[in-house]
Symmetry: D2
Subunit: 349 residues, 4 copies
């Protein structure tokens, strides 16, 4: 990519702007630093046009392979239907374009292997697959705990993956390929070894599930070194989205997804988690949101005249007045009235 481009922003082509792809377009445009959506492609060209029109400097390219090959595209985000992935991934390899591919890599084992081989022949890793749980803070903490040896050697992993509902076309095999596949990657990520056998148990089905859907399912994995993993996948709970993973090791266990952060149980027989060590971890998200929303407000303010999205000067003044009273009370120990002007006495405050 050109020096000029690198000094500004990565130009990404997003292929496929259905729910997932459109979400990534919004993400790159509104939340990701150092990148922008330069090209959009979708088999529904009017949808592509409509979305591109909302993004400065973004255009539509009608053919996905042309979009990949485009000299003004530095990298590709693939959110097209699975059956098109093989051809598009091979094109990315051919043109040397880094590609972020939403799962699945391809729709069957053979074509997945072909893609692996094509990339291996190139001798350069260009393909990333969208197993996003590896980037989730709780999974990262759990992995770090294992790597640090704090649970000892992992022995057993228990997973639960629950959705309130699924679309009408969801069938029993999709529970394996679309839902369980996340537990497959979580297992491989946490244990760092391959899965060698699988067994799916079908308990009597949820009466509320669509006729014929084997839901819930219990999956049992064995790994190369004989570790046991079980995963409940239940996609018609009617409740909410729940993802839970527990690793049981020789020195203790840890669980995430309990709505209470990572909870670890280790000798001497204690349970609990870590308190945030400093304001950086506790309020990092708040600082990011504060500045992002301020930037958005300022940009919008060029037209509306409202340049703030948060506490203003009055709030700073009020805090100063209260703290001044506080410092006085610190000396006397007595209750001190706060001395403030009436806000209404200042027109426009």
């Amino acid at each position: 990519m050109s020096n000029e481009l690198r000094s500004t922003e990565l130009r990404i082509a997003v292929l496929g702007v259905g729910m997932m792809g459109a979400d990534h377009v919004r993400r790159i445009t509104g939340a990701i630093a150092g990148a922008r959506v330069a090209v959009i492609n979708d088999y529904d060209s009017s949808k592509a046009e409509a979305l591109a029109a909302t993004i400065p400097g973004c255009r539509v390219v009608g053919d996905p392979i042309d979009a990949i090959a485009d000299p003004d595209v530095d990298a590709v985000l693939l959110a097209t239907p699975g059956p098109t992935h093989e051809k598009q991934l091979l094109a990315c390899i051919e043109h040397g374009k880094p590609v972020m591919c939403e799962k699945p890599l391809t729709t069957d084992v053979e074509t997945s292997l072909a893609v692996v081989k094509a990339e291996a022949e190139l001798g350069k890793k260009l393909i990333q697959v969208g197993f996003m749980r590896r980037f989730d803070t709780e999974y990262e903490q759990l992995k770090a705990l294992i790597v640090a040896g704090e649970l000892g050697r992992p022995l057993v992993v228990h997973c639960a993956h629950r959705n309130p509902a699924v679309p009408p076309h969801f069938d029993s095999a999709m529970i394996v390929k679309d839902s369980l596949v996340h537990e497959v990657d979580v297992t491989r990520f946490l244990l760092d070894e391959e899965i060698t056998s699988v067994q799916i148990i079908k308990p009597s089905a949820n009466p509320a599930a669509p006729q014929g859907l084997a839901d819930p399912q219990i999956a049992l994995f064995s790994t190369e070194s004989g570790k046991h993993v079980d995963a409940e996948v239940f996609v018609t709970t009617g409740v909410a989205y729940e993802v839970r993973t527990e690793v049981v090791g020789e020195l203790g266990s840890a669980m995430i997804g309990l709505d209470v952060g990572l909870v670890r149980k280790t000798a001497p027989g204690t349970w609990g988690g870590q308190i945030t060590p400093s304001f950086v971890e506790r309020f990092g998200q708040a600082y990011d949101s504060e500045i992002q929303r301020w930037v958005d407000a300022v940009v919008a303010g060029a037209e509306t005249g409202n340049y703030i999205d948060g506490p203003g000067a009055w709030d700073g003044y009020a805090a100063a007045a209260v703290c001044a009273a506080g410092v006085k009370s610190l000396e006397s120990g007595e209750r001190v009235a706060v001395d403030m002007v009436q806000r209404s006495s200042i027109a426009g405050a």
Copy 2:
């Protein structure tokens, strides 16, 4: 600001690049979409130069007022020492530049009021103050609960604010002005009314606190409508960073900061919180991190040849192989061995 600029990025001048300012520079550069650091100013010009050199298109301006006035600066982020704020804020108002001002607004009540009045005369809100807790997810949830009336009318607020340690120069009044000030803003934010009196109680001090430091302190606030707020501020706990707020209302109470998300206690006598409704909320952070880190890896890869920071094609293939076995087991109910090639058989995979 020019049309061209608006179509790309907001150009921000960061004034003061101590710990807080430098952190904001990193934030704007690496995590905030739609903005870039165009100008850096610091009274220590070599520090400013060193930081600016790491940011494409960023330059140093030696005088803070010049930086504010610079025609290629769209907005200002003020992270300079408090005593300089008044003059710099007035300059922002004079030049019509939106400004994000780290707390405090100014160092005393009179100058804070002067700034409020100057902005009011302009008739346009340009100044935002860095009370970042208002952007924290848990505080936003707590505020939303109050606004929705789910706790009824708030009656009492309990706050705790604990730091493991503070720098040597921290004195008793700074506990009020630097630490308690956050509880001041939280109170005003949550209750939406002004504080009318303050009382500071000094229990016998923590033996581990520096000689002469009144720590912990208990602050009592009364508000316009007679609500009671108490806040424990304890900055030498030796433990970790803990911020807790509980609102007790006529219909129930809710607490944040317990390491378990927002916990709400309401009739019919239940405690608990909300399960994440969908993967969007549960894994939004993971998607953001996934794409940001991929973008960073691709940009860095132009030089290193490593374009991925996460699961690669092999991981996609392995998942496909396991799921294929899973689908077979779904039919048979039996254990099915996973059929995979050896990774080592493919050079470069």
Copy 3:
């Protein structure tokens, strides 16, 4: 007391069988080993008669002082109205009878002091006051943590005491004398020093509270060594019964009453509690209930012919059959069908 009596059971006179006293009668009769209710007294003699008739070997004594003096009474449980306590306690001292006195000791400071002095003159401690929180497992754990020095020197205590509702005659002073009094004793129990000053803050009242009731109230205590205690008492929450106490010490803090057992926050920045060390602690209550309910069932069974209140022989057989299959599967690793007869094939099983 006679040797014969000691070898069997303590004979208790219960004075006052309103809600609290009647509850104690049930407790002594059905849950306390080594004691029985020998005498009941109440100003409403028909109520006393009705209750005594349900208890083997229990009789009514019409005058409370006679009941105390009765030679077949070894000890006294006082659950009469507060204004009668002074005279009855002095009678217990006179007759050398141990007495368990529901709070308050007496209804004012002077008479309380008189009772203290009378007992001191006797030179033998006969009077116990019904501050039952000292016997609550969580308070015992919190006290043990403090005594063991694990929180360092306690500095601050926060209490909350919430009731869903109170009877119509409850007035603002009763919130102090009937509700806050528990926090008074908790403070003295945990800190092991006297309270030297009290301040009651009345925030604007809960709109749902009866007209004129100052509810909630915030109490502030200072202790001899300058420790600070605050307590929110709120008796018309409409939610449930909540009692929470947090002790903040120089080495960390611990809280009880969060519905999650004792939670402790100490260096190195961790939160959590203790996992039950063995089945003895985990299921001690279950063993007690199991045996108590079995005893009750056997006693009742003399008339009904039903001698069990729990799992029976069939449940033992079924467990044996499943475990036999389990042991076979342990060897083979395969699924093993459980071999059991049909329950219906055995008439009466």
Copy 4:
């Protein structure tokens, strides 16, 4: 049993006073109302004599069948080794004595069935088996939730059963028969149907487990109606005692054993539990302990002169003094000093 006996106490023969039996002797003597240990039997007669000597009115009977047949024995508690159970249970049936039998019922399926048939022929249920979890508060709550239909039809149950360590003689089959047997009964109790197949999975063993011990083990149960149950049993964790059960139903899930009481996840996507409705539930244990310990102190006090085990008259006086100051402050809103005499001024207080 005689009328006289019924009006006082159930006379129990405890057979076998090893760890479990001796614990039951202590329980009946010190915590169970309405019963006493009348007879002790153990193959080690000196152990039996030593224990009996500590219990008023208790004697040793040398032969277990004689103890069962003894006319002054109303009921039997069997804590002898499993191989003797069959003969002793049949004797209980023969003599019509209710019997509480520690698990296992007998040591194999055939003899268990024989016992079931013998009791069925008698036409009267005399035998209770010691599956004590059915009496645990959390299991009772979980069962109640299921029975009330609040989780809908149960579909899947997940269990975990972890011990820190086991005695040296513990072998792989004992993990099934001694540990997993509890999950067998929990399954049958919660689901109210029989288990029809079992599969035991042996992951690679915990390196810290004794050589040859297959630990952990994963058990899979299917039930009559096709429900799935999995149970991890892991008896060498080195951590603590953990027992966890989760029931996943068509309307939601509930888990116990998380150290936070029962946690329920149901629509509309909430997690949490119930707050204790009143002081009766919150402090019931405290009241029981208070009175039991007071009874024990009074009984012991006949010799030591110390009749209280808890707060005394001074504590009642101190509370009165603090509350008097509180009532004054309630009126004035000001801090009021507590007016108390010095404790040391009253000799003996």
